[in-house]
Symmetry: C2
Subunit: 208 residues, 2 copies
């Protein structure tokens, strides 16, 4: 009763329903665009009444924000796990690049949503903080590598942005191969190839 939709206590059944709405929304947003996808589209796709959506989410905007928040958190967690236990700044950097590329290429829908979110202030704010953290992480390793004399001096912040560019673009769903039905995909072999090339370009690129 008047409990906020985002604080609600859910039964297992409720959690399932919520998750299927989330999953369907992510797919639709990614393939159709956020604005062109209406709440009615989502509930119709899942096969429920409109009220169900507002039982589980406060608004359409909040749904997207939640997707972004969760995704950033998941990416960061994955990256941290990959870096943990690796020694040396360059090795950490490489592990981070591998992890973020692998994650990105297995979450193409999310990447599309993030790309959209950057184009509207309301959502971009939700990304800025997480982006800063990931960038600062990379910059820290670069700075350490410079301090240890592993690579030539240079602005670590800007180098981190460049590194980010390489991994982002190589992982971007838009640069995959276009299938007959118009869908753009990157298969498993391509994923490995791209990761290896990404690592190579990044390590040589910052070495200048």
């Amino acid at each position: 009763m008047s409990t906020a939709a985002d604080t609600r206590k859910l039964t297992p059944r409720g959690r399932d329903r919520r998750q299927s709405l989330l999953d369907f929304a992510i797919r639709r947003f990614a393939e159709n665009g956020y604005h062109p996808t209406s709440v009615a589209d989502i509930v119709d796709g899942v096969g429920v009444g409109k009220g169900v959506f507002y039982w589980y989410f406060p608004s359409k905007d909040d749904l997207l924000r939640e997707i972004l928040r969760d995704s950033i958190y998941d990416l960061r967690k994955t990256q941290q796990a990959a870096i943990d236990g690796v020694d040396g700044p360059l090795a950490k950097l490489e592990a981070g690049v591998r992890a973020s590329m692998a994650w990105s290429m297995t979450h193409p829908d999310i990447l599309r949503l993030v790309a959209f979110a950057w184009t509207e202030q309301t959502f971009a704010e939700a990304l800025r903080k997480g982006d800063q953290i990931l960038l600062a992480d990379t910059a820290r390793h670069i700075k350490a590598a410079i301090a240890e004399g592993d690579i030539a001096p240079g602005d670590p912040e800007l180098l981190a942005i460049a590194v980010n560019g390489v991994t982002r673009q190589l992982s971007s769903p838009e640069t995959g191969t276009v299938s007959g039905d118009g869908t753009v995909t990157i298969d498993e072999a391509q994923i490995q190839e791209r990761i290896e090339l990404g690592v190579r370009v990044v390590l040589h690129g910052i070495r200048g």
Copy 2:
């Protein structure tokens, strides 16, 4: 009468009006988002009646498509002019990187629109072709550099994507410094610094 709005013969006054609508729309789309910006917003901003918009443009969609088409053409023209007369694949590559970064950083609004356009099929199609051309250009120079033994072998297509990533990210308005009023900007000194770093990272990156 009943001439299509995009084939219309315009007087100088008409061309001015059209241009101010275009300019205002670009700025609004970039800062506010495409969908959240209504045609009413645009005509109100320019201070004219709604019908004026549809006298000069067939639809809101067409307006964006025209902006994208013109921008891609302008970028490509600029890049070509910069590369022309430069000798050697690596020098051509460098000239291309410099030109595209300089262009991108002086057209931040356009970059935002392009980023948005990639997230919706209808508009993404308008970009795909131009993107392929720019990418193929870069790939050609890389291939030539490999052939001449200037850089180590590697898939030119993927290397071109990586190069693209470096230049795109370093030129991205989102990676600028946030001013007090929330606007993100990159000043002239930063532009030069970023271009130099971009060139350095690209040339070393593909050298691997």
